[in-house]
């Protein structure tokens, strides 16, 4: 736990508070403006499918640029060195490009409003309900993590007690989502993306000046305990004698395939951003446009982590102010004068809010459409579901306050969230990918593959918590949990399909690769636009090549 002691008490002056206040006035202003423009429940949930691709693309990456992303990745930068880059490159870019090129035509073209809805049409109601409920639970648990992180920073930076910080943070998130819906959430995410960068860039610049530029940083990192290993990404990954303790198979297949594809392609808080794009092409470009800033974000997260490693004495303590998690706040305190300090604090607070807002808006869409409208109250008018959506938002925020206190019980929230991903996203990805490319997969195979995949990962996690099964680290457990869930889900799908009837082909139109429907045809997937910079395939290829090129000097 962070204690609001001297090292972390930021000395904000009136101008810093002015910058902070202006941000929240703007954000609430957008909410009220959006509210005036909102007429239907489709508006509320999917922003009426009207956003240009650059807006949804930045919102896409911003929805991921939450509390854990910034503090966690800077912490990992200080702890593991440049191997943290794997989370940005091999662990994100291929999956984002795959989502845009291959999977988005299914999502956008089938006009589904959520991932569970896609499962209902591809499989059956049981699969749908299982996923809707597990998704709602996952979103609430992750919302709690984001809220807890937001509260930690309020507490540490501004000196507020934890519980007040949690309640105030929740209240702000609630106001901004409930008055404006996703439309305001998306606008705020784009706005906040720029504010975060404006706050993180000065930390990198001033920090680099302090350590004597890039050369100075490299020299000083070599003299730390991590040594030269902190400056490589793939060196010594034939074995596990590297800072991350993982070999290249684990990095490429565990992180780069199962965990990363599971997260980016089935996480509805992310996919929803693309579904609000104004047309198919914009939807497909959404994650790919997001991949470009994703490539460069480590400059303002991992690099400050390294700077903190060499400049902050005592960093890496077990608890107190000098844990790795506090790398960024410690640097802000040490390097930023009032003014840019206010921008940085605003950027951090905005980023923590965005994480929770994304979870809550994902939760209220799934709760309203997939649980309430599908199984509890059917066939009401649009105004009714709009009202249910608003109530679900309030309920979601209140539950988030509860789960924030659960998160407070974990001493490493980053590992907690990785465990949640291995439980919820890995089996879902397996079920999805098989169902999308194998038309024979039966409805019940979908249900059992999802259920047993989740169950196996959960069992492994509980056995690990109960000390029955041992792993070297929490991270290793989440990798094995995700891998197990993936294998169990695929094998179950293959077996159950042999014993249950396949879905009639006419019900699979537009939902399975190669099954009719303009949206999923090879022509639509391969063919792009006449203008090259709007061609998703070309943009995707550029993103992947850039990731490879960036690895070369840092292998």
């Amino acid at each position: 736990m962070v204690i609001a002691a001297s090292a972390l008490r930021l000395d904000l002056d009136i101008f810093d508070y002015l910058i902070l206040a202006l941000y929240f006035i703007t954000v609430l202003g957008i909410g009220f403006a959006a509210r005036a423009a909102i007429k239907t429940s489709a508006d509320f949930f999917l922003s009426g499918r009207s956003m240009p691709a650059w807006v949804t693309g930045l919102a896409f990456v911003s929805a991921n640029l939450g509390a854990l992303e910034i503090l966690g990745m800077a912490a990992n930068g200080a702890q593991y060195g440049l191997m943290t880059l794997h989370y940005y490159w091999v662990g994100a870019v291929p999956a984002m490009v795959f989502l845009g090129i291959v999977m988005m035509p299914f999502y956008y073209g089938s006009k589904v409003r959520s991932v569970p809805e896609f499962l209902r049409r591809r499989f059956n109601n049981s699969t749908h309900l299982f996923n809707a409920i597990s998704f709602a639970i996952a979103q609430m648990l992750i919302a709690g993590v984001n809220l807890f992180a937001l509260a930690l920073i309020l507490k540490a930076l501004l000196g507020w007690p934890l519980w007040i910080s949690i309640v105030v943070g929740a209240a702000i998130v609630l106001i901004y989502i409930s008055v404006g819906g996703l439309s305001s959430a998306i606008y705020n995410e784009v706005l906040q993306f720029f504010v975060i960068l404006a706050g993180l860039i000065p930390i990198t610049i001033v920090g680099l000046v302090k350590v004597g530029g890039v050369d100075g940083l490299v020299d000083k990192v070599r003299q730390t305990e991590l040594g030269d290993a902190a400056l490589h990404t793939f060196a010594n990954t034939a074995g596990t004698d590297n800072p991350l303790g993982a070999n290249w198979i684990g990095i490429i297949f565990g992180l780069g395939f199962v965990l990363s594809f599971g997260y980016w392609t089935t996480n509805f808080a992310e996919v929803q951003r693309a579904l609000s794009a104004k047309n198919m092409n914009a939807a497909r470009r959404t994650p790919i446009i997001g991949a470009f800033p994703k490539l460069l974000i480590p400059v303002v997260t991992v690099v400050p982590g390294l700077i903190a490693l060499v400049t902050v004495k005592g960093l890496g303590a077990e608890d107190g102010d000098y844990t790795y998690n506090n790398a960024i706040p410690l640097l802000m305190n040490e390097l930023l004068p009032n003014g840019v300090l206010g921008v940085a604090v605003t950027g951090l607070l905005a980023s923590f809010m965005a994480g929770m807002a994304a979870n809550v808006s994902g939760f209220n869409t799934v709760f309203t459409y997939d649980i309430w409208q599908s199984y509890i109250r059917k066939d009401r008018d649009d105004a009714y579901y709009l009202r249910v959506g608003r109530i679900a938002t309030i309920g979601g925020v209140v539950v988030g306050i509860g789960t924030a206190f659960i998160a407070a019980g974990f001493n490493n929230i980053m590992n907690y969230i990785q465990a949640l991903f291995s439980l919820f996203n890995a089996p879902l990805f397996a079920t999805f990918i098989v169902g999308m490319f194998w038309k024979k997969m039966s409805s019940w195979a979908g249900f059992w593959s999802l259920a047993l995949g989740t169950f196996s990962a959960l069992t492994l996690y509980l056995l690990y918590l109960g000390d029955v099964v041992k792993f070297n680290s929490d991270l290793e457990e989440s990798f094995w949990g995700a891998g197990l869930a993936f294998v169990v889900a695929v094998v179950t799908a293959l077996i159950v399909t042999q014993f249950t009837p396949a879905k009639p082909e006419n019900e699979l139109q537009g939902l399975v690769y190669g099954m009719g429907g303009e949206a999923t045809s090879t022509e639509t997937i391969i063919a792009g636009e006449k203008v090259w910079w709007r061609n998703p395939v070309l943009l995707g290829a550029i993103a992947v090549v850039l990731a490879l090129v960036l690895y070369i000097p840092l292998w």
């Binding site: 423009a37 000046v209 047309n279």
Partner: protein
């Protein structure tokens, strides 16, 4: 989905470029002014870099660029050719 035409019109009432541009112009002015009047202690804290001044000017430039972009390509004008994928329901 029903209400397709109504929804897209409603959501275009305000443009994110105006919001980003406006906020960054204000931030830019505040931070640039702070940068101009920074005392030596603050400059020393930032390792001798006039970070407020530079970041203030950069934010101001970004804000003005956003507003300029908005002026050159207003939200009412169609930004792209009608999409070929549009499906008949």
């Amino acid at each position: 989905m029903a209400d397709q035409s109504r929804t897209s019109k409603a959501a275009r009432l305000f443009d994110v470029r105006r919001v980003i541009g406006g906020l960054f112009v204000v931030y830019g002015v505040i931070v640039t002014l702070l940068g101009l009047f920074d005392n030596q202690a603050e400059i020393d804290k930032a390792q001798g870099v006039r970070i407020n001044l530079w970041m203030g000017l950069a934010m101001l430039a970004l804000g003005l660029l956003m507003l300029l972009w908005l002026k050159l390509s207003p939200p009412e004008a169609p930004e792209e050719a009608p999409e070929p994928e549009k499906q008949a329901d």
